[in-house]
Subunit: 437 residues, 2 copies
Amino acid sequence: MAAIPSSERLRSALAEFVAIPSVSLDPARAGDMRDAADWLAAQLAFANGRVVESDGHPVVLGERIVADDAPTLLVYGHYDVQPPGDETAWQTPPFEPSIRDGRLYGRGATDDKGPVVVALEASRASEGVNLRFLFEGEEEVGSPSLPRFLAEHRDELAADLVVSADGAMWRASEPSIAIAAKGLLGLDVEVDGPASDLHSGRHGGAVLNPNHALAEIVASLHNGNGRVAVPGFYDEVTELSADDRDALRRIDFDDESYRRETGAPLLHGEPSYSTLERLWTRPTLEVNELRGGGAFTVIPSRAAAHITCRLVPDQDPDRVFAAITSHITRVAPPAVRVSVVEQPGAVPAYAIASDHAAVVAAVGALGTVYDEEPLLVRIGGTFPAAVLFERHLGLKTLLFSFSTADENLHAPNEFFRLSRLDEGVAAWSELFRRLAR
Amino acid sequence: MAAIPSSERLRSALAEFVAIPSVSLDPARAGDMRDAADWLAAQLAFANGRVVESDGHPVVLGERIVADDAPTLLVYGHYDVQPPGDETAWQTPPFEPSIRDGRLYGRGATDDKGPVVVALEASRASEGVNLRFLFEGEEEVGSPSLPRFLAEHRDELAADLVVSADGAMWRASEPSIAIAAKGLLGLDVEVDGPASDLHSGRHGGAVLNPNHALAEIVASLHNGNGRVAVPGFYDEVTELSADDRDALRRIDFDDESYRRETGAPLLHGEPSYSTLERLWTRPTLEVNELRGGGAFTVIPSRAAAHITCRLVPDQDPDRVFAAITSHITRVAPPAVRVSVVEQPGAVPAYAIASDHAAVVAAVGALGTVYDEEPLLVRIGGTFPAAVLFERHLGLKTLLFSFSTADENLHAPNEFFRLSRLDEGVAAWSELFRRLAR
C-alpha cells in the first residue's frame, strides 16, 4: 500500500464507490444500495464499521474511541445518490466513472461520494479525537428513517459535534463554510370548480374557471416588487444586524454576472435587500408548479399549484403554513372550493454561530490549505440532517464539505474536482488537530 | 323496399353509417374515411352523388335540379367523427352500433351521422326545391380544406341558402333553432424567465418566477366579478335590445338546476346579465390551460397559458387579439419575456336574423311535428362552416339539426334518439315544402 501515492489510492477508492449505482429512489437498486453500504463498512474497518438496519435503506455506523477525555466527533455523510436522469445527456455513462481534465465524472461523484472518501481518509489517520460515523442511504429521498434511527441509537451516537461531509462549497474561487441553511415548507393548493371538465363554449361565462381563481390566488401571494404579501409571513424573521449586512457586503458578488448566469432578463426581488441578502438571508415563497386544464376548449374542473417556501432562522414551518392557509382562504373566491395541504417533512432553517468554536477551527483549517480567505456563506437550500441532529441528538453540525456547488449535483455529468481529494484530506486532518486541542 | 317501414330502413342506414370508423384525425383511418365518403355518395345516387378530392379528406357532392325558377338549397353535413377516446368508458364498442331504450349508441351517431341520414331521406322525396349537397370529412379537425374547396367550387355550389344537418338542438324538452353561434379566438401566452430551470432553494428570491408572472397576467384578464378586464374587449359588442332580453327572459331556464348540472359551488359571471344572457350573448375569455414547472423545488424557465375567447356578432377576432396582446404587454413584468401568439383558424360569430324567411319556415316546420313551441336559441360553441359559407358563397345557413346537445357529442357513449329520425324527416320535408313556395 505504501508504494501507491495517497492521491492515486483515493482516486481508485472514489471510482470504486461511484461505480456502485446506489440510487435510493429506485426499488430495483436495493441490491446496489446494500453493496454500497457493505463497501463503506469495509472502508471503515479501522473503526469497527458495520451495516445496521433502519426502517428503510441500511445505515453504516462505526467508531474509534481513543481517549475518554478527547472530544467526540460524529462524522456524517450519505452513500445514496440521485437517479441519473436522462442518460443520453451524460457524456460518459453515469455509473462508469471517467476522469477528464482533473475531474471524476459519475453520478454521486460530488454528492456525496467524493466528500465521503475525503472524510474516511482523514479519519483513518486522525489522532486526538474520538470519531463516530453515520452514513445514511436515504438523504436523496428526504431521510425518512433518520429521525427514528437517531432516537433509537442516541447512545451509540453520543458526541460533541457533527462534522458533515455533505453540503457544498459555494463556488470554486475560494473555500467557504456554510453557517446557515434555509428551512423548507411544501404545500399544495387545489381549486375545484365544476364537477367535471366543461366545454368552454357551452358553459363559458356562467361558472368561475378554476384556472382564473388559481391565478388570482397565486397573484395575491406576492407584491409586484417580489415581497411576499401573505400577512404574517415575515413575523418571525429577525432582520439582519448591521454587522451581518457588512459581512455580506464584503463578499465579492457581481449582480450582472449572476444575472447572466441565470439568463433572466432582470434580477427581481424584495426592495432594500441586495441580491446576496435575498439569496442567503430572506425567506421565499416560490410557486413551483401551475397546472390546470389543457390546450383545448375546456373549463377544467380543477387547477392546482405546488408551492415551496424557504425559511430562515426563527420561522416556524407550522406558523408559516397557517399564515399562508389563512391568506388563501381569505382571498379565495366563493364560486370555487379551495384546499391547502401541507406536504409532510417540513424542516426549519439551520444555523451555527459564526463564532462557534467549530466554525473558527474550520476557518483556520481551510486557511492552512488555501491561499484565498475562507468565506462564511449561507445556503438557500435545505439541510434537514443538521436539523435532525440538533433535534434528536442535541448536536450542532459543522458543514465541512469539499464538494462545490457547480459540480452538477442532481444533474447530468455530475463531477468532483480531484484536487479536492488531497485538499480535503489536509483540511479535515487539520480540523481534527484543531478540535483535539 | 316498399315493404320495409321507413323507420326501420332509416335505422339500418344509420347503423351501417355509424359502423364505418371515419375518424378524420386518425391517419390510420384514411381507408375508412374513403369508405364513408363512398357510402354517402351511393346514398346520394338520386342526386348524382360523387366523391370529390380536396386538399384533405374527400368531399361528397351531389345535386338534383328540378326547375330553373325553384329555390336552390345547399344541404350541408359531415361524415367524419371524433376519435372514440377512452374505449373502456363505452358500454358498447364505439363502432358497433347498438340500440338501447330507443337510442342508437355509437361514435358519430348524433354528430353528425343521424342528422345526415335524416337530411338524405327527406331530400330523396323532396319536391319543388333544387338541392345541392356538400358533405365534408374534416369538420372534426377544423375544416382546413373547406375554404379553398368552396372558392374553387363556387359555381357548382351556387344556391340561395345552406341548410345544415349539423348543429344541435339545445335540449330534449322542446325543439329549437339556433340563430347564432359564437366565434372563436385561440391564443397562447408564454412567459420566459431564466434560461433553464433553476433550483428554488439556490435561486429563490433573486429572479422572477415565470409562474408568478403568468398568474399576475392571467389574474389581470378578469375583474373579480367575471367581467373581462382587457381594455377594448367589449368595444364592438352590441348590447342586447330590450326585445332580445325579453325573448331570452321568456325562455324557461332555472339557474339552480343549471348550477347543479355543472356541479359548481356558485354560478359566476358578468353582473347585470342573466345566466342565459351570459351563456348565449356575451363574449368570454377562458384560460383553458395553465402550465408551468412541476411538483418539486424548481423555478421553471417557462410558464404558459392557453386561452380561448368566444366572440359575439360584430367582434373582429383580429381586433380582439390585438386588444389582449396590448393588455398583456402592458401588464407583463419587465423581469420576464412574454409572448402572445394567435392560434390559426380564428372564426367570427355567426348569426341569422330571427325573422329571416328560412328561420320562419323552420319554426313553422317544427310546429307541424312537435307540440311544444320551438325556441330560438343561441350556441355558445362555434360553427365555422356557416362563417365560411357566408364568406365564400355569400350564403346564410339555417341550422336544422335533429341532434340534441345532451347526446354525448365528443364523449363516450354518444347516441342518437331514434325518434328523431321520423320527426326529422317530417320536419325537413315540411321545411322543403315551405321553402319551395
